[in-house]
């Protein structure tokens, strides 16, 4: 193609480029360029005041061989994900199946379970911090003592801090997964149920032999979304354990990977180190998403 033709074509396509120009300009500056910049910075030492200094793979080497806090954050993140994802997915699946039955007040229940999804996670965390409050004022401890158990130190104990955040996150995430499951349930043809009924199948039989097998793609999708959100947990940790510069709770018992990244980048201003952490997180999410794409492709046939 010669030059003249090329420009003629460009002129014809003028409007297309005008239509996409502004969003793409912003996209390149604030979304795409940072991806490459932080990759470069992950090989540097950078404290914002002085220009970045190239140090090769030192950040990565230090993270993996010489950083107990990173190890702690990985373990915490794994505990968090392993606790929140399966429980959250199972509970929301049960919820969706329950709401999908012929029951009264269907929409009322749907709305109630959905409320936390439109509430800022920061507000949710602030409310729950108050619910978890110490022995005297906290509603949870009061209820627990009413039931005859010992009060729990929730956010003040190294054992309970992370589970406290996990319980809250499951509560907050239920509605979102439930809606996805409900959408999945609508795709199961009614005929399948009718056929099962002719064969004399009761509720449980239909659930285990029709609903669940046909819902497999949705289950995989919801699990994947839940994993990605959980792996990047930050706001909850920041609000419930943070304040006064410290983040991560007693003995860093709730320091997750993203919380650690935030601490390195924006309280200690070790931008190079934080960029390396960001890339490690990115890599984990990426690998997991790719694995799941494979799983989704192997849909069940019916």
């Amino acid at each position: 193609m010669d030059k003249k033709e090329f420009f003629a074509q460009l002129r014809r396509q003028k409007w297309s480029y005008i239509f996409i120009s502004v969003p793409f300009l912003l996209f390149f500056i604030f979304q795409l360029a940072p991806v490459f910049i932080s990759f470069l910075w992950s090989f540097t030492e950078y404290d914002v005041v002085h220009p970045p200094k190239f140090i090769g793979l030192d950040n990565y080497i230090n993270i993996f061989t010489n950083d107990p806090l990173f190890r702690k954050s990985v373990i915490n993140t794994i505990i968090y994900v392993v606790g929140v994802v399966p429980l959250g997915v199972c509970l929301s699946l049960v919820l969706a199946v329950a709401i999908d039955q012929k029951i009264k007040f269907k929409n009322f229940f749907k709305s109630i379970f959905f409320l936390p999804t439109v509430t800022a996670i920061v507000a949710v965390s602030v409310i729950w911090k108050w619910l978890y409050a110490g022995e005297k004022y906290g509603l949870f401890n009061y209820l627990i003592m009413k039931l005859g158990f010992q009060p729990v130190d929730w956010l003040a104990s190294p054992i309970w801090t992370l589970p406290s955040i996990m319980i809250m996150s499951i509560w907050a995430g239920l509605g979102y997964s439930m809606i996805l499951f409900l959408a999945g349930l609508q795709t199961i043809p009614q005929v399948m149920y009718e056929m099962a009924e002719i064969d004399g199948a009761g509720f449980w039989c239909k659930l285990f032999h029709v609903t669940l097998p046909l819902l497999k793609p949705t289950i995989v999708f919801v699990s994947m979304m839940s994993f990605i959100f959980s792996f990047q947990v930050f706001e909850q940790v920041y609000v419930m354990t943070g304040g006064d510069g410290a983040i991560g709770g007693v003995l860093n018992s709730a320091l997750t990977m993203v919380a650690y990244l935030y601490d390195k980048g924006f309280t200690k201003f070790q931008m190079g180190y934080a960029s390396a952490l960001a890339y490690i997180i990115f890599f984990c999410v990426f690998i997991f998403t790719m694995l799941n794409k494979r799983l989704i492709k192997s849909r069940v046939e019916y």
């Binding site: 074509q9 409007w15 297309s16 239509f19 996409i20 502004v22 969003p23 793409f24 996209f27 500056i29 604030f30 979304q31 940072p34 991806v35 910049i37 932080s38 910075w41 914002v48 919820l95 329950a98 039955q101 029951i103 229940f109 709305s111 109630i112 379970f113 959905f114 409320l115 439109v118 509430t119 800022a120 920061v122 507000a123 602030v126 409310i127 108050w130 004022y137 906290g138 509603l139 009061y142 509560w171 979102y176 809606i179 609508q186 509720f203 999708f221 979304m225 959100f229 990047q232 706001e235 304040g243 980048g265 924006f266 931008m271 960029s275 952490l277 960001a278 890339y279 997180i281 990115f282």
Partner: protein, 282 residues
Amino acid sequence: MWHELNMRKDALTVKLFIYTFLIAGAVTMVLPYLWMFITSIKPLEEIQSYPPSFLVKNPTFEPYEDLFRLVPMIRYIFNSLFVAGAITLFNVFAASLAGYAFAKHKFWGRDKLFFILLGSLMIPWQVNIIPGFIIVKTLGWLNTYRGLIIPSMACCAFGIFLNRQYISSIPDDLIDTAKIDGCSEFMIYRHVILPLIKPVVATLAIFTFIQQWNNFVWPLVIIHTSDMRTVPLALTVLTGQFGANFAMVMAGAVVATLPMLVVYLVFQKYIIKGIAMTGLKG
């Protein structure tokens, strides 16, 4: 006969089980909100009295008065509304315009650009935030509306994708007819495409607004002065500064929560459908 009776008994126990489960669940869902609201209208003595009670003997608006007197809450609400509103307006407009170009125009580099755009959806915010902060700092946009608004305008990849999907299903004939009638490209967008994609525009607008109102990490990183805080940011600062004044903090939580609950109740249909269709998160 026996069989049928058994089936009916079976169905009854299942129903009973379902209702118990759902009601217990609903109570668990509502409880934190209820407790937030109750705490926010309790006078101090009642908060400190034991055992904690769901009944308020002397309800008071004092925590709300404190909230609006001790911190510039009106300003924070304005900041949140202004920032979320500006981003929403821009994203909805830009995403539908770009979505139209991607769906119906043929231009050099179209598929490559679209592929990059889609790929960017997989990038977690942690990767962008450090250079994003430095870029904004270099531009001198820390603690400004520009800093809050413009970088967030860049996140319209999903909106473009959604619009493209939807606009692709509009028949080409409509556009061709408009062209023959002498419509310019922008007029086609304005008078042919836009009226047809109203549902997508509405869904996208609601989601963007809720997301931006609730957005926390970006303001946390770039706002360091008191008067530029958004509501969620103000709420965390409130928890730190007035942590002992539980009623006031809960009043702040009500202010942060209530507007979105109202938006949700009004636009419920769009929101539920939007999530079910696309996996968008509020």
